[in-house]
């Protein structure tokens, strides 16, 4: 089994993917299409080599075909990327050219009896399936992001490749963020809150905690109870607070993807089977209309310095 691996990197967040790639016995080549600093950061993690292409203002996706050709020559047994859109496009180009399998959401790679084992997260991460693969395999990384380890720094080799004619023709800064992104604590609510007037209940808890207020997608999108800049989830805010307290939120995978970076997740839900209790660290089973006032009171009774941020 050829376990030489290409790790395709176009942006930050490659630490987890690097870790599972490094676990393979073969030679690890990091292919970086991005700024020089990114190439140097990847090199410091200790791959065997870094091939670096500076895209300048051109989208990294423009190098898909050229990279596919280079991979067809080098014939790595495994090609890996994060789920970053640009890195994924490069992965698809390489996989198509090499006629490789493409397994999404891999969390671990191993070699057993000369075959590659890919462990992949299925059904939104509720279960992990082990696949035994022959031939070249492309995978997207689907585990948690981890800080990159540091290893013996690899040399960075600049590589000139031909780019397809893609061009950024306009770029405008997005509207000012809601403050959720940098918040240390976030209290969020979902459909468990039955009426617009009851939002104040959750607002009171957020105020007591010194937390930002957020919500699930339907609250902002269907009901309009909070501004769209305040919903958390796959297509909304992706946040990393120290504490995420979810009130009356079921915990659909699309929602939980927005808080993957949270340090502690706590939930209040009246359904003991609610999906959110599978991923939360702490939970209260109970009616939020009873629990939230008690929580607010308990927080207010804390010595005030406890809540200094």
């Amino acid at each position: 089994m050829n376990t030489d691996c290409w790790l395709l990197v176009t942006a930050d967040g490659w630490g987890g993917a690097f870790r599972i790639a490094r676990a393979l016995p073969g030679r690890l080549t990091a292919v970086v299409i991005g700024p020089r600093l990114l190439a140097e950061q990847v090199a410091a993690a200790g791959p065997d080599e870094v091939r670096w292409t500076d895209p300048g203002p051109v989208p990294a996706e423009a190098w898909g075909a050229a990279l596919a050709g280079a991979a067809a020559d080098a014939q790595p047994g495994v090609v890996l990327s994060t789920t970053d859109p640009a890195a994924r496009v490069l992965l698809g180009a390489v996989a198509g050219r090499m006629h490789a399998r493409l397994v999404p959401a891999a969390v671990a790679l191993a070699v057993e009896d000369d075959r590659l084992l890919v462990r992949r997260a299925a059904v939104g991460g509720e279960t992990i399936e082990t696949l035994r693969c022959t031939g070249p395999v492309a995978v997207t990384y689907g585990g948690d992001d981890v800080a990159a380890a540091s290893g013996a720094a690899a040399p960075v080799t600049p590589v000139e490749l031909a780019a397809a004619p893609l061009a950024v023709i306009a770029s405008e800064p997005l509207a000012v963020a809601s403050g959720l992104e940098d918040a240390d604590r976030v209290v969020s609510f979902g459909r468990g809150v039955r009426a617009r007037d009851d939002v104040s209940l959750v607002q009171g808890l957020a105020a007591a905690l010194g937390a930002e207020l957020a919500c699930s997608m339907p609250i902002a999108d269907d009901l309009g109870w909070l501004d769209k800049s305040r919903y958390v989830g796959r297509s909304g805010n992706q946040i990393s607070p120290a504490l995420y307290l979810a009130v009356g939120i079921g915990g659909a995978p699309q929602h939980m993807e927005g808080v993957r970076g949270a340090r502690v997740v706590a939930a209040v839900n009246n359904d003991p089977e609610a999906r959110i209790f599978r991923t939360a660290d702490y939970g209260i089973v109970g009616d939020l209309y009873d629990v939230v006032p008690e929580l607010t009171k308990a927080v207010r009774n804390l010595p005030s310095k406890e809540l200094e941020q």
Binding site: V89, L102, V107, M217, Q254, L295
Partner: protein
């Protein structure tokens, strides 16, 4: 532009039941419209409208193929015997063969699924076309394909050559249920069935050695009197150092 919109190409993970041993029971789930399909359809129409073009529908598997026909697509093709596969490249190979079967195509628009994040990009790789995914929308301006996306705090507009694949990620749940008139019209619109044999593809999956639940510590759940559970949670959060 001749635009193909790919829809209903995966099962919905919420239709799956994970048993206590980690194995997956799909409970006869069919291919469904993914959460990104309506946004992909809207982009397909925008691209066609900007170029005096047409939108063709393409679906695979056992779902109801009339979904796109009831939402304004005039003609659709369905590879009905395509199975649901773990290997995203195998699914992409089926789609690529079907796209080639449709003759000259300028743009393929597909929902950029979170669950099967490899299908849109492997489809582009299989066709050998440039691609952008994670887009919020796409359109045609002065005969040229352009796409919108959010990257690092900026809203970008990107010009791309054709033929190309564009993957659209929904910003909101925008599906609109068609009315009776549209449903009736959909029945009259042509739906052509294709088979894997006709397309000359024989997809397979890697061997599965089974599933297991991930190692995760279950939540510490407090139940009982609200005042008591509230105090327990606050104490736990303090010991975690987040209060």
């Amino acid at each position: 532009m001749r635009v193909v919109v790919v829809y209903k190409w995966a099962r919905n993970p919420t239709d799956a039941l994970v048993r206590s041993d980690g194995s997956i029971d799909w409970r006869n789930a069919r291919m469904t419209a993914g959460e990104d399909d309506p946004a992909a359809l809207a982009a397909a129409f925008a691209i066609a409208a900007g170029s005096d073009g047409e939108v063709l529908g393409l679906t695979i598997g056992d779902g109801d193929a009339s979904w796109a026909l009831a939402r304004g697509v005039e003609r659709a093709w369905s590879v009905a015997d395509a199975p649901s596969l773990v290997d995203n490249a195998a699914t992409a190979a089926i789609l690529a063969a079907a796209v080639r079967h449709l003759g000259e195509v300028d743009v393929v628009v597909i929902g950029d699924s979170r669950q099967d994040a490899g299908v849109p990009v492997a489809l582009a790789g299989e066709l050998g076309w440039p691609a952008l995914v994670g887009l919020t929308s796409a359109t045609t301006v002065d005969g040229r394909l352009q796409a919108a996306r959010k990257v690092g705090g900026a809203a970008q507009t990107v010009l791309l050559p054709t033929p190309a694949v564009v993957g659209i990620a929904a910003e909101a749940d925008v599906d609109r249920a068609p009315g009776m008139k549209e449903l009736l019209a959909a029945r009259k619109r042509p739906l052509t069935r294709l088979s894997l044999a006709e397309l000359g593809v024989a997809p397979d999956d890697p061997e599965s050695l089974g599933c297991a639940k991930p190692d995760s510590t279950p939540a510490r759940v407090f139940a009982g009197e609200p005042a008591e559970t509230a105090a327990q949670l606050v104490a736990a959060l303090r010991s975690e150092g987040v209060l």
